[in-house]
């Protein structure tokens, strides 16, 4: 077993192996290594700092309890991210039960106002520095509905296929396609809006 000083230089696989034997210091190193990414994923889905911290910590506890189930089919980072996503989706479902069914919610699949939006013909992200682009994308994501944002995060950031998203979001593939379509359209309009504001 590696000594404590070795942990920062150890590969994830070795740390996981040690953690599986009950080595909590090795697990702590894994947490330290991936904590920003896991928190970031939780935040991108919840858009709430406190909830994101709590859910990311819950994900780490679950990961520790289920370490024996991790067979290394994917990377450890992917595995813990999937645990986080599932916890966030559970929490979003709980939150939704408490949320009133507004017209906005009912329009998630059918498009609502996005149906009438003109197509954005000029790429609004052209010429932007990467940091600025990321900032704008993040702001735009914050303005989307929970359903639209979730489907975008899972498809564009997590690279999940329609089928996999449908399974995780407990809806049909058709619903995923529709949500993704209108989420993209709204995103384009939001990004174009920033561009128009700049030109004023």
């Amino acid at each position: 077993m590696p000594s404590q000083q070795d942990y920062p230089t150890q590969a994830d696989e070795l740390l996981v192996k040690s953690a599986k034997t009950g080595d909590m210091l090795a697990f702590e190193e894994l947490v330290a290594r991936h904590r920003d990414k896991i928190y970031g994923r939780a935040f991108s889905m919840m858009r709430n700092e406190d909830e994101a911290i709590d859910l990311s910590q819950e994900a780490w506890v679950k990961a520790w309890q289920r370490l024996a189930q991790f067979q290394g089919d994917s990377s450890f980072a992917t595995w813990i991210t999937r645990i986080t996503i599932n916890l966030c989706l559970d929490q979003l479902r709980k939150n939704k039960r408490h949320r009133a069914e507004s017209i906005e919610v009912l329009n998630e699949e059918s498009g609502g106002v996005e149906r009438q939006m003109p197509v954005v013909t000029v790429n609004p992200t052209e010429g932007l520095e990467r940091t600025e682009l990321r900032q704008r994308i993040d702001e735009a994501l914050g303005k989307l509905s929970v359903e639209h944002r979730t489907v975008l995060v899972l498809h564009e950031f997590e690279d999940l296929e329609y089928k996999e998203i449908a399974k995780r979001m407990e809806c049909s593939i058709g619903t995923v396609m529709s949500r993704l379509f209108y989420a993209r359209r709204k995103m384009a309009a939001l990004l174009a809006g920033y561009k128009r504001d700049e030109l004023k």
Binding site: A32, D36, F43, I53, Q57, V119, E156, Y162, M177, M187
Partner: protein
């Protein structure tokens, strides 16, 4: 443009269409300006998002964040032990204890009944032979009672 056609355009962009649907979509994009514009919009949104997620920083120190996780991990087995103790162990323990008590009582009654009919000198009374602790039991059929005396031999 039909809703279904719009979603097909998107599925084509995401590589989620069959070969036949691919041919149809390519054909549509060649002929239809509206389809071309919509496809371009979907494409730049997809391209803009890919690899451009905001990099977040956890707003807590490493030690503070970890301490809460560790506390929760360490708390879990105790919780399990408590639930084991509360939901399963206690009723089972009670059932075993009750069973043992009933068994002992039966043995005692049988023994006393047997002893009452066979002991010539002290009917209804017997003495255990333990080295440090002794027990004298007195049973009276007439009064219908049993008395057990514990005696310290040291």
């Amino acid at each position: 443009m039909k809703e279904e056609t719009k979603l097909k355009l998107q599925a084509y962009l995401d590589g989620e269409v069959s070969n036949r649907e691919t041919r149809d979509t390519v054909d549509l994009l060649r002929k239809d300006n509206e389809a071309q514009s919509l496809f371009a919009e979907l494409q730049f949104t997809k391209t803009a998002l890919r690899g451009n997620e905001m990099e977040m920083k956890l707003p807590e120190s490493r030690d503070f964040y970890w301490s809460k996780i560790r506390r929760e991990i360490e708390r879990q087995p105790k919780e399990l032990a408590r639930s084991f103790d509360g939901r399963w162990w206690k009723p089972a323990y009670a059932r075993i204890a009750a069973g043992l008590a009933a068994g002992c009582a039966l043995l005692m009654i049988s023994f006393l009944a047997f002893n009452a009919g066979t002991s010539p000198s002290l009917p209804g009374e017997m003495e255990s032979t333990g080295e440090e602790m002794g027990a004298i039991t007195y049973h009276s059929n007439a009064d219908g009672m049993t008395v057990v005396y514990l005696v310290d031999r040291e």
